[in-house]
């Protein structure tokens, strides 16, 4: 059973924190297809957030095809997110890179900024368009990830970026 940690000062919408932590649990293999997510009641009892926030997060995960709600039974994982198990060789390479960054005199913030810049270059966020879009007050960024909706259980689909 996953446990959600809500950081009230992160500036990230609460429902999005639940979505991101679920995705993270799927990536790390803490959740696998068939596993049941905690019920809204269990989440709100532990985190003291509004029930609608949890339901909104679960709807978003369902929209992404990651989970499915089964009436009267709960919400279950449909597929896992592949790409970065903790023991991937990429982990070691990144570790090496971080070691070199430290040796080159970069501190934590410099390193994070550099990594974020590369991340943004290779994985641009769909909602952060480069041209200054009409700056309207927007609802919290709803990520629209173009992902296949019908995927056989148990397969990992997100291609390794490498």
């Amino acid at each position: 059973m996953v446990e959600y940690r809500i950081d009230r000062r992160s500036g990230v919408a609460t429902y999005l924190q639940i979505v991101q932590q679920t995705r993270q649990a799927l990536r790390l293999g803490l959740l696998e297809p068939g596993d049941k997510l905690p019920t809204a009641r269990e989440v709100v009892e532990a985190t003291a957030v509004n029930p609608n926030t949890v339901l909104k997060a679960y709807r978003e995960l369902e929209r992404e095809g990651l989970v499915e709600a089964r009436r009267g039974l709960g919400t279950f994982v449909r597929r896992s997110l592949g790409g970065a198990p903790a023991d991937t060789p990429l982990h070691g390479e990144l570790l090496e890179w971080a070691t070199r960054a430290r040796a080159a005199g970069l501190d934590r913030e410099d390193t994070a900024a550099l990594f974020a810049a590369v991340l943004e270059e290779k994985f641009p966020q769909p909602h952060a368009a480069p041209e200054q879009a009409v700056p309207q007050p927007q609802p919290p960024p709803e990520r629209t990830l173009p992902q296949p909706q019908s995927v056989p259980h148990g397969t990992t689909t997100e291609g390794d970026p490498a």
Partner: protein, 299 residues
């Protein structure tokens, strides 16, 4: 059955003829199943509004319906915890809970009341008069939750609880709301502790409702803009508050259509939204659609 928990139309209450009314002309509607933060400065009228909804005060004028009926008739389905947590000082914790059971026979949830009391490590034999402020709060909330009411009216429920107790009790309240669709109205002047738990907001100041509606809707209706323009350039929007920042201007506006791209636009936090409205008492009120009183409320 009704989908409206509280509906007020032009609600006014004056405690005496010579005194400024505590509430003047409040109108709003709260749907059932919502968790509503009732916020505002001291003396805004929050406690008066809750006491009216609990049927303990009669309005001077205007109308108020609770769960589709009069506040008095709704009382068996409403639990109200007043700010001073009135309990009988001579009773023990166990006796107080038994009193709750007898007064609410038929709906009493003994397990839930006992669990809320036990979470606070309340000694069942301890007299109410010997309890600390926080322990008394917990016992009062145990009574309110044990009643299994459809509407919980809580006046400053968290004020004298430590952070862990607040978190636990808020969790218990949210679990109730999730499982039973209980409507909750909680007053506070510290918005931070309510922001995550509530989905609805009533901002009261000067006896009036200044903002009312779903928290997301209210936040999205506003924008925090920064730029080198002038206030006059924002005339098509409602400027709630503006101030000079460096060579430019920062303003909290209620948007009407797109904002000129020359301005840097951000979504305000709930706290920024509330503070701006409290600093600008003359800004027009905003009650979002669906949260205005819809029809004639019960007399």
């Amino acid at each position: 059955m009704t989908d409206t928990a509280i509906e007020a139309a032009d609600l006014t209450l004056a405690y005496g003829r010579r005194r400024e009314p505590a509430l003047r002309g409040c109108s709003f509607r709260l749907a059932t199943g919502r968790v509503c933060a009732l916020v505002g400065p001291n003396g805004a009228g929050k406690s008066t509004l809750l006491a009216l909804a609990a049927g303990l005060l009669r309005p001077t004028s205007g109308r108020l319906a609770v769960l589709g009926t009069t506040p008095a008739a709704a009382r068996p389905r409403v639990a109200y915890v007043a700010q001073d947590k009135p309990l009988h000082p001579g009773l023990s914790v166990a006796e107080t809970l038994r009193l709750g059971a007898e007064l609410n026979a038929g709906s009493w949830d003994a397990a839930l009341a006992a669990q809320v009391a036990a979470d606070g490590e309340l000694d069942p034999g301890a007299r109410v008069r010997s309890l600390s402020g926080g322990q008394r709060t917990r016992l009062a909330l145990a009574l309110a939750l044990g009643k299994r009411a459809e509407l919980l009216l809580l006046d400053e429920p968290m004020a004298d609880l430590d952070p862990l107790a607040r978190n636990r009790l808020m969790g218990t309240l949210m679990a109730e709301a999730a499982e039973h669709g209980t409507t909750v109205v909680m007053s506070s002047h510290i918005i931070g502790e309510l922001a995550d738990a509530c989905d609805h907001l009533l901002l009261v100041s000067g006896g009036r409702v200044r903002l009312g509606g779903g928290i997301d809707d209210l936040v999205h209706a506003h924008a925090l803009v920064t730029g080198t323009g002038r206030v006059a350039d924002l005339a098509r929007h409602t400027v709630v508050e503006s101030r000079a920042t460096g060579r430019g201007l920062t303003a909290l506006i209620r948007t009407d259509g797109p904002v000129d791209p020359a301005w840097d636009v951000e979504e305000p936090s709930l706290e920024e939204l509330l503070l701006a409205h409290l600093r600008a008492p003359d800004a027009p009120a905003l009650i979002t659609p669906g949260t205005t009183p819809t029809r004639a409320v019960a007399a």
